[in-house]
């Protein structure tokens, strides 16, 4: 048994070391309390709804979210808009459809089954409109960046004047959290930029947090059920392990060897 604990602690230690090496980040990001972290982490429903508002009113003019559908907005574990609200949201967008029986493309109001409407028809159009830079699709953005949510949250608040000696080209901005500090997206958030329907004060910090929460959900729409199932699965495994441990002791007691 002693030997066993040695092995087990070795595995834990090893995993820990791997994690810390991989998670090692040089930049200190801004910290905030994320409701979705931890064993029972869940999304803050109101923050998701506000985050969606920030996305639609600010980000969506350049950034697509091609893996999201309007139906997702009403699904469990997400912003959980009511079906009616989600339908209304979908209907507020014009969706290109077709061809119809005459062979023509046409536009119609969006439905729940439609994907989020993209701001540009293609990558080239997006680049042409943004000085050559392609605003990345935001569906899985938080998983595609080393610092994850902390990075995005910090980046949105990381704009400042360039230090002396740093010259920026036209259309390039200084951000202390960006890799290489140069970013082609201008500062988008300013206090009071959006008017939250739930009356929350729209400070830059608040909007950053809300929209980052929304992005976390869009990258991991099943995060809540994952946490819930994980707790149950691990609890089940622990109980079973204890039972098997005592069975093992019982069986091995038939011979004099210690197990």
């Amino acid at each position: 048994m002693k030997n066993f604990f040695k092995i087990f602690s070795f595995i834990i230690l090893f995993s820990g070391l791997t994690l810390s090496t991989l998670a090692a980040e040089k930049v200190e990001y801004l910290k905030t309390d994320w409701s979705f972290k931890g064993l029972f982490g869940k999304f803050d429903r109101a923050a998701l709804q506000r985050g969606y508002q920030v996305y639609t009113e600010v980000c969506s003019s350049c950034h697509s979210m091609k893996y999201l559908s309007y139906r997702n907005l009403a699904e469990k574990g997400g912003p959980e808009f009511s079906i009616e609200q989600a339908k209304a949201i979908a209907a507020s967008f014009e969706v290109k459809d077709g061809p119809n029986s005459d062979g023509d493309m046409f536009t119609r109001p969006g439905r729940l089954s439609d994907k989020f409407v993209m701001p540009y028809d293609n990558v080239q159009a997006a680049q042409a409109a943004n000085g050559g830079a392609y605003p990345p699709d935001m569906s899985v953005l938080v998983k595609a960046r080393g610092g994850g949510v902390d990075y995005i949250y910090s980046l949105l608040q990381g704009y400042e004047d360039p230090p002396v000696g740093v010259t920026l080209d036209d259309g390039v901005y200084y951000n202390k959290y960006m890799y290489g500090n140069k970013i082609k997206m201008a500062n988008q958030l300013s206090d009071g930029l959006v008017e939250y329907s739930d009356g929350t004060t729209a400070s830059v910090e608040q909007m950053s947090k809300d929209v980052t929460t929304f992005l976390m959900w869009s990258a991991e729409p099943h995060l809540e059920s994952r946490h819930q199932m994980g707790f149950k699965a691990i609890l089940y495994l622990i109980i079973l392990t204890i039972l098997v441990y005592f069975s093992m002791k019982r069986i091995w007691s038939r011979i004099e060897t210690e197990v």
């Binding site: 087990f8 991989l22 392990t241």
Partner: protein, 420 residues
Amino acid sequence: MSDHEYTPKSKFGKWFNDRLPLLTLANHLTDYPTPKNLNYWWTFGGILTFCLITQIVTGLVLAMHYIAHADMAFDSVEHIMRDVNYGWLIRYIHANGASMFFLAVYIHIFRSLFYGSYKAPREIIWIIGIIIYLLMMAAAFLGYVLPWGQMSFWGATVITNLFSAIPLVGEGIVTWLWGGYSVDNPTLTRFFTLHYLIPFLILGLVVLHIWALHVPGNNNPVGIDIKKPSKDTVPFHPYIVIKDGFALLMFMIVFAFFVFYTPNILGHADNYIEANPLVTPAHIVPEWYLLPFYAILRSVPDKLLGVVAMLSAILILAALPWLDTSKIRSAVFRPLYRQFYWILVADVLILGYVGAMPAEGLYLLVARVATAYYFLHFLVILPVLGWKEKTLPIPLSITEPILGGSPNLASAKNKESLNK
């Protein structure tokens, strides 16, 4: 293979068994005499079987939803993550399962190194094991390409380009591997096919691995030959089954923690960016389990020699039964080897660490020293140690040290001081 002849009790059983001796096989597997002093390091064989089955089953389901096409692969993975029922669970088990598989295989290999399980008469088991390990690396690499993220694409580019180091035919081979002049759709489809094939090759080799094991029987922590069956052995069922089961459950707890709470920590963030042949990531790094070999590859300035060094680092293991000249198997009775063993473990961990770092400055120097030591260990230290080392006296049977107290090293030592 069993020492006693087995006859099924029922008439049908006897009839069937005479034609296909499946019942004899089942009886052999349950009765299989196993040394009773096996410690928990020996449970990783069973754990690895579990890992393989898990990968095959989850992989099968993923293959039903995945689309092996350069334009659709990334989307189809997101489809699995979002819209397939419990697709996220299946994919996270499969992705983290690969890491768990390697964690277990490294423990399994280093257990063998410590207790000398590769020595006569178990060389064939060991060599089959090395082939399995090579195939595992191939399968893991191919699988990592399938999501068609940035790291997939550029990892595939870097690794396949290694073949271009081969003189004269190198470039041709790379083009042939790619199915074109760059990593593209033909590369993806063939990688998918091979990724699907290899696990079944591994499964077949695992059967051979176990078959070869059942001829001489398990090695054990004391490393001596034992009579089978005897007072030194227990039947595989229920003793080893329950013990392996217990260890497997503990392993599954760690596994589950990764899957449910940090499913992406072992992957690279860049792989959530769709493959883009026009943008090279800042650092191209392989998965953690390949890092030591990546470090060896990069520590040699010449491309061809780097590839040779990397391959040799793995293939040298196959020669281990002959490089280690010591007659004594278990490191328990080899005081000097024991110390070199731990230095080797540290060396490999260091290689893994520098493999993740940029190949420059101090990191590169450390990588070179560690690479040199790695080969020194196998090519010089091990052969010399076998001739020079003064080993401790080994007990005559497992029961002997056990009856003196615990089956540990301490009691074996006591025994030896008593004999003096």
